[in-house]
Amino acid sequence: MSLGPEAPISDEIVAPTDDAAVERTAGEKAIAGRSLRQIAWRRLKKDRVAVGGGIVILVLIFIAIIAPLLIKLFGHPFDEYHNEKIDPTLGLPLGHLGGISKDYILGVEPVNGRDIFSRIVYGAQTTLTVAFLSAFLSTILGVLFGMTAGFVGGWVDSIVSRIMDFLLAFPQLLFSIALVSVLPPTSFGLGPRWSRVLVLVAVIGFFGWPYIGRIVRGQTLSLREREFVEASRSLGARSPRILFREMLPNLAAPILVYTTLIIPTNILTEAALSFLGVGIPPPYPSWGGMLSDALQFYRYDPMFMIIPGAMIFITVLAFNLFGDGLRDALDPKAH
């Protein structure tokens, strides 16, 4: 995954022309120098599948940001009951496909008739917030500990490596369920929804850092022995400069790729915790929580199960496609 020291990720140094393919006049003999970022960007743009994944991600983020507006325009408040939309004897939505209609574009929930569209939109908000923030936390911890372990070596390395091995050998899902379930429902003066989001970010992010830490440590170990580090040191550079100005740019590509690939895992974990009843507390919507509600109704109202399931699938797939594309674009050795 290493891009090599001779290829800076930033393109501030070499950018003679914007586009190498532009035809030049006869007198000009400059050959375009392309930075790795430009090369990767070109490759990524050509990868239609990855671009598709990226677009879906952007749309989802946009939906999450303008959620309140969307609900005002196309939906109803997420916790508003609509009993008139429910068959009073069966408790199932009236109409076809779980009550999909012009007013309720994704139908209504069985029994209480809450608008599924607005619950999906708010679910996107919580899911994406948890997934991004926990990936960010994992990355920061992973880079910090991974680089320290790889660069300092010795007993620091053995302690950090031991902790990472230990965390990877930990029954994480069980422990997360247990931990989240004993924590108080509100904290830090936030409402039940956002305080639980914070708890999920902390738990998922914390258990995720060894994955990034291991990769960063390995890369740092091999970078440390390279000539450019020796050269920098012989010029009198101190450790912080070597770490952040010389080595970190070389680690940027793998860090970016693994951060992107850890996001879909986080989405699945968040949904799993909500499915098991320790995620976002009701009445606040989450996709996993909706699936768990659907457990009782999947026989009679399959749409109630399919919609949140499909949302999880589409979101995770989009991130996987984009992450794979990003990895291929940044890694010249692949393919």
Binding site: L173, S181, Y298
Partner: protein, 332 residues
Amino acid sequence: MLAYLIRRLINAVLTLIVVTFVTFCVFFLVPKATGSDPALLYVGKQADPAAIAGIREKFGFNDPVIVQYGKFLKGLVFGRDYVSGADITHCSAPCLGYSFKTSQEVWPLLIDALPVTVSLAIGAAVLWVLMGVSFGVISALRRGTIWDRSVMTVALAGVSLPIYFTGLLSLSIFVYWLGFPNPSFTPFFDNPWHWFTGLILPWITLAFLFAATYARLTRANMLETLGEDYIRTARAKGLRERAVIGKHGLRSGLTPLVTVFGLDLGALLGGAVLTEAVYNLRGLGYYALNGIRQSDLPVILGVTLFAATFIVIANLIVDLLYGVIDPRVRLG
């Protein structure tokens, strides 16, 4: 070799001690911070103060956390007596204590749940290794063909699907529409056929998700191996393609999978929480979830210990196997 094994075993036991201690602390410190009393969980809120005090004394809730943890460890190895005045309850080794909710001993409860989880995990593992590896190898050999593309598309979808969604889908399609029997567990020695038919749906659903990951991994590893010089050499010296792939390609192409497989199986044996929740199977994961919902610390602690033990053992076996499969690895 022996020294290595002993060192690894000591390491494994240390890991288990740390895992249980961390779990113990979480469940000791958090109720304290939120002001709830474990003794109340045992006897209920209506009980008179004397009964609560008795329970507290009997189970040692007044002791500092380190003393309680020490007693827990001692009970695990030697068994322990719960004493409150004249009331003595003996819990023989290995003792994981009594459930707060049902007052049953935890160890027999978990031993009863174990066959469910083991059947589920082993059956699914056989399926997913067969499916994942064969599809991955064929995809690598026919790289770029329509077969490769379609297998990789399905695999990509597979890694993006959660079991709590595919499980529900499989239930509504196979059980509700097509009338297959609801998944259930029958002990293998009671009736092997019912054991098989009751678990086939969870096996396939679970195996599909793992097979997707394994197919992707196998394909990537095989492609890397097939690009190596020694494969070219093997072909150049006139070996038949079957020998090139079977003898030279597979061996190093599949080695990295052993690590992943060990970890996955170990994690699954410690409680397939989601699968058991979806299919309502009463395995370790089911009891863990139940325990967590009812703040039943002894059950949670027991399952965590089981789960961590499986993961640690799986790790150990993988490392030992590595020395056999890959001659470059020296254990020492």
